[in-house]
């Protein structure tokens, strides 16, 4: 007799622990693979998790096995034209015995790369590990354009249109009860006294006393009556607060200098910075658009591929990009509907006569419209006039404008954090 058991509801993921152990063991390799992926992948897909490849030889488990050489006799199926004595060349490719090892090692002839899947969280963990990323997701957005009015209990100050009648009257009633306590106790005592005196009737002395007491009760009642029915103090108003509701749409402008002075490694740093910003936004908005604006002496809106990987030479006029961004905002992203973020990366080079124009464009056309403008300068050299101009803007628009210098990839996250830290 056989037992048939339905195990489908049993715990799945039994291998989770083993898998974690594996990831832990090959952390270094995986990190390298993730870094490569970051550099080759599109910003929009960056947090998808994905495939990771590490060299097979790094993770093989060694066992004793025969190496090449010696005499071996192997039997194959499917003979077509061989007869005894035929001579065959050894298969090409270094290890003629590559397939010969198949028996000894269970790896057999395999791919050189060991490829597997990691999920989004793991991918991000690995990606940001050297950026020392804390739990960024918890961060709330400081600024949000649209507000929602929500009830938040009651207050004692407010405008008449928010008056809550029931609450106010209840408060008045409570006040009256509270403040008249002494009088009412007195009245109760007097009434009790009258009761005892009534027992002594028709004693004339008692009658007088009763009358006096009644007078007293009347006076007390009058005092109670004199208490105001409603007081300023009783008024209760509905408390409505405006809570910020992040609008569900955001647009992110990536502005980058692609002039000759920007090397690929600078661009890679910039890309990681843009990725961080993108991820930050994805935690807060349902829908995100990314606009890539690159510039040398004039600016152009491009797709991502071109943005990161095409090379231009020539001078640098930053204001061209700022103007183009402003135009795009005006035409396509009305600030009422969109949360606008601009991230600009550059090595700090700009044509001398242009930097003050940049400041004007920023101050007049861009900063009033955007949530946040972050400028990173990726350079090891001294700051140039663009930085100096921007410093003036920072002093003026500390709320929405931030700027930092990045020297090497390790700086990206700290800088990002500084840029987005809560300002009191």
């Amino acid at each position: 007799m056989s037992y048939i058991i339905d195990r489908r509801l049993n715990a799945k993921k039994k291998s989770t622990v083993n898998r974690q152990r594996f990831l832990r063991r090959y952390k270094k390799h995986i990190k390298r693979a993730v870094e490569e992926a970051v550099n080759t992948r599109s910003i929009r897909d960056i947090d998808q998790g994905g495939e990771v490849s590490i060299p097979t030889k790094d993770i093989s488990e060694p066992i004793f096995h025969h190496g090449n050489g010696g005499v071996r006799q192997r039997v194959f199926p499917g003979n077509k034209e061989f007869v005894v004595g035929d001579e065959i060349k050894r298969p090409e490719g270094g290890g003629g015995g590559g397939s010969g090892q198949g028996k000894a090692s269970n790896q057999g002839e395999g791919e050189d790369e060991f490829t597997f899947q990691i999920n989004q969280d793991e991918f991000l963990d690995f990606m940001f590990e050297d950026l020392e990323l804390p739990n960024m997701i918890k961060k709330q957005l400081r600024d949000a354009t649209s507000f929602e009015v929500r009830r938040a209990g009651f207050t004692s100050v407010g405008s008449p249109d928010k008056l809550n009648v029931v609450r106010s009257l209840r408060a008045a009633n409570a006040r009256r009860i509270a403040l008249s306590g002494k009088e009412r106790r007195k009245i109760r005592e007097l009434k009790a006294e009258i009761k005892t005196l009534e027992g002594l009737l028709p004693n004339s002395d008692a009658v007088n006393q009763i009358n006096a007491l009644n007078e007293e009760i009347k006076a007390l009642n009058k005092r109670i009556k004199r208490m105001p029915f409603i007081d300023e103090f009783d008024l209760k108003y509905n408390n409505l607060v405006r809570t910020p509701v992040p609008s569900s749409k955001a647009v992110m402008f990536c502005v980058m200098d692609v002039s000759g002075s920007m090397t690929q490694s600078i661009k890679d740093i910039a890309k990681r910075f843009f990725i961080l910003l993108y991820l930050f936004l994805t935690r807060n908005y349902k829908r995100i658009e990314v606009v890539f604006v690159r510039h040398h002496t004039h600016a152009k809106e491009v797709d991502e591929e071109e943005f990161f990987y095409s090379r231009e030479t020539g001078g640098t006029i930053v204001s061209s990009a700022l103007n183009l961004s402003a135009d795009i905002i005006r035409d396509r992203y009305p600030p009422g509907d969109w949360n606008i973020y601009v991230a600009q990366a550059s090595d700090g080079d700009n044509w001398d006569g242009d930097s003050h124009i940049c400041r004007e464009v920023l101050e007049q056309r861009i900063l009033p419209l955007v949530q946040y403008f972050a400028y990173v300068e990726i350079t090891t050299g001294p700051h140039q006039n663009l930085w100096l101009e921007y410093e003036q803007i920072r002093d003026k628009f500390g709320e929405t404008f931030a700027m930092q210098t990045i020297v090497e990839p390790g700086d990206i996250y700290p800088v990002f954090r500084k840029l987005f830290e809560k300002k009191e």
């Binding site: 056989s2 083993n18 152990r21 004793f64 025969h66 005499v71 194959f76 199926p77 077509k80």
Partner: protein, 505 residues
């Protein structure tokens, strides 16, 4: 035979149907005299199947990164569609546990029941290697013990320490088996009770071993007896008993890995037979049901579709060629034995005078019980089978510039091909023969191993790495000498590596 109503006609399975199929298959299996452990059939999802896959088919196992690696590979291949999951996993235990996958059709479930629950199951119960080396009733309990023990070690000594230990043991796992001794069956309860005693005993024993107060140096160093007296082929056993520096818990881990290696030892030697036997019986059992009219023609067509793809042997020059398919070879040979019994030709009478024309079922049962792959092929691979698979031998002598075709499927070649093929299933030939030769008890405690070379084949390039693991376990220097059949030391590897002074030695 009177036609009956088929058990089912659709492709959907239900538990009632599985039970009915199982009953019918059990009835037919009994008719053919298959002796099995009771069956425990478990229905699982594909995810669970992947889990089972990656813990080497065991329903529970200790944690180790290599299983994670296996899992990740399986998952990746499965998701990419590079491979389907196996239809079944069956565990040599009592009761015999087989997994059915939820996604399979009714036909596939029936196929798996026939294949695993009656084919493999009867093989586990009948084959001499399994009877000798494994204790089906205790394995699950033992694994549970191992899992808990190792988890406890991780708590006490840290995951890394345990992982290192396991890595080293895994590297030597294939050398952790006894080939010629019957291990005493020990229940997990006894195992636990004896644990403390053993730890204590080993420590005491060890102290004695090392406590060699030099007596008057009358005996010359050369004549000093070797330790161990006879070479030891079970490296892990030797380590467990004799490694001077291991802590008791480390010894126990060595022991666990060794025990599990021993459990798998028969499976590694009977793959062709085991799969051949199971395929032969699923084919026979389901066709019997079809003859009785219990399954429909559609059922049998679907069944044949899977069956033929399982037993397909691509020729050596096909892109799908990946060695000899054990299913194809095993199944082909089982069928062939039946053919030799039922309709023998003159050639069969000449080659197999003892079985030609005999009762096929009895002959097959006998073969199943008393052989392993190597001897099975040596005994039963017929010229007919060699022709059918068009087998040929290539001799690859690394001293020559080309490889030679040394035998093909013709009159002169049959015997040779058969011997060559059988030899390739001999674990002794497949794996380097490495044994513990000596311990320098009075000196630096270094451990010397000897690799007895087979056909002049050197060791592979992993050897250094494995020696590092061995060195970790032993704690002192490790030497590995490759010895030719004439007893001449041809090559030596040392861990830690020696500067080039080998000529002196």
């Amino acid at each position: 035979m009177k036609k009956r109503e088929p058990i089912s006609t659709g492709s959907e399975w239900t538990f009632e149907l599985i039970q009915k199929y199982d009953q019918e298959i059990a009835r037919v299996a009994e008719h053919y005299g298959l002796d099995t452990y009771p069956n425990q059939i478990e229905v699982i999802t594909s995810e669970q199947m992947m889990d089972a896959y990656s813990s080497v088919g065991m329903p529970l196992n200790y944690n180790h990164w290599s299983f994670g690696k296996q899992f990740v590979t399986t998952e990746q291949q499965y998701k990419r569609g590079q491979m389907g999951l196996a239809y079944e996993i069956v565990i040599n235990s009592n009761p015999c546990i087989s997994y059915l996958m939820e996604e399979n059709t009714m036909t596939m479930q029936a196929l798996v029941i026939a294949h695993a629950c009656y084919g493999h199951n009867s093989f586990f119960k009948g084959n001499y290697l399994f009877r000798t080396w494994t204790d089906a009733s205790a394995i699950i309990d033992y694994l549970l013990f191992a899992k808990n023990y190792i988890a406890k070690c991780e708590e006490r000594h840290g995951v890394d320490a345990v992982e290192q230990m396991l890595d080293s043991c895994h590297a030597l796992m294939n050398y952790g088996v006894n080939r010629y001794l019957r291990p005493q069956p020990v229940t997990p309860e006894e195992e636990k009770n004896r644990l403390l005693d053993r730890e204590e005993y080993i420590q005491r024993h060890l102290n004695q071993l090392w406590n060699t107060i030099p007596k008057k140096d009358l005996i010359k160093e050369k004549k000093a007896p070797r330790f161990p007296k006879d070479p030891e082929e079970n490296l892990l056993y030797f380590i467990e008993k004799n490694a001077p520096l291991l802590e008791p818990w480390q010894r126990e881990i060595v022991r666990i890995v060794r025990k599990i290696a021993q459990y798998y030892y028969p499976q590694r030697q009977t793959q062709v037979m085991n799969e051949g036997w199971a395929c032969f019986w699923h084919y026979t059992l389901l066709h019997h049901l079809h003859d009785e009219g219990l399954v429909t023609d559609g059922f049998i067509m679907e069944f044949l579709h899977s069956h033929t793809s399982v037993i397909y042997q691509p020729p050596f020059d096909s892109p799908y060629f990946n060695g000899i398919n054990p299913y194809a070879l095993g199944y082909g040979m089982m069928r062939d034995i039946r053919r030799i019994c039922e309709t023998p030709t003159d050639e069969d009478y000449q080659w197999f005078p003892d079985i030609a024309g005999s009762d096929w079922n009895e002959t097959l049962q006998h073969a199943m019980r008393n052989y392993k792959d190597e001897s099975f092929i040596l005994q039963y691979l017929s010229p007919h089978m060699i022709r059918e698979l068009k087998l040929f031998t290539i001799t690859d002598n690394s001293t020559l510039s080309t490889m030679q075709v040394s035998a093909i499927h013709d009159e002169e070649g049959y015997q040779k091909v058969r011997e060559n093929l059988a030899a390739s299933y001999n674990i002794g030939n497949r794996e380097p023969n490495i044994q513990i030769y000596n311990v320098n008890v009075r000196g630096d405690r270094s451990l010397t191993l000897r690799h007895y070379m087979h056909n002049e084949q050197p060791l592979g390039d992993d050897t250094d790495e494995v020696l590092k693991h061995l060195h970790r376990l032993w704690g002192f220097d490790v030497h590995l000498e490759s010895v030719s059949p004439e007893g001449e030391i041809i090559d030596a590897i040392h861990c830690p590596p020696r500067p080039h002074t080998e000529e002196v030695a």
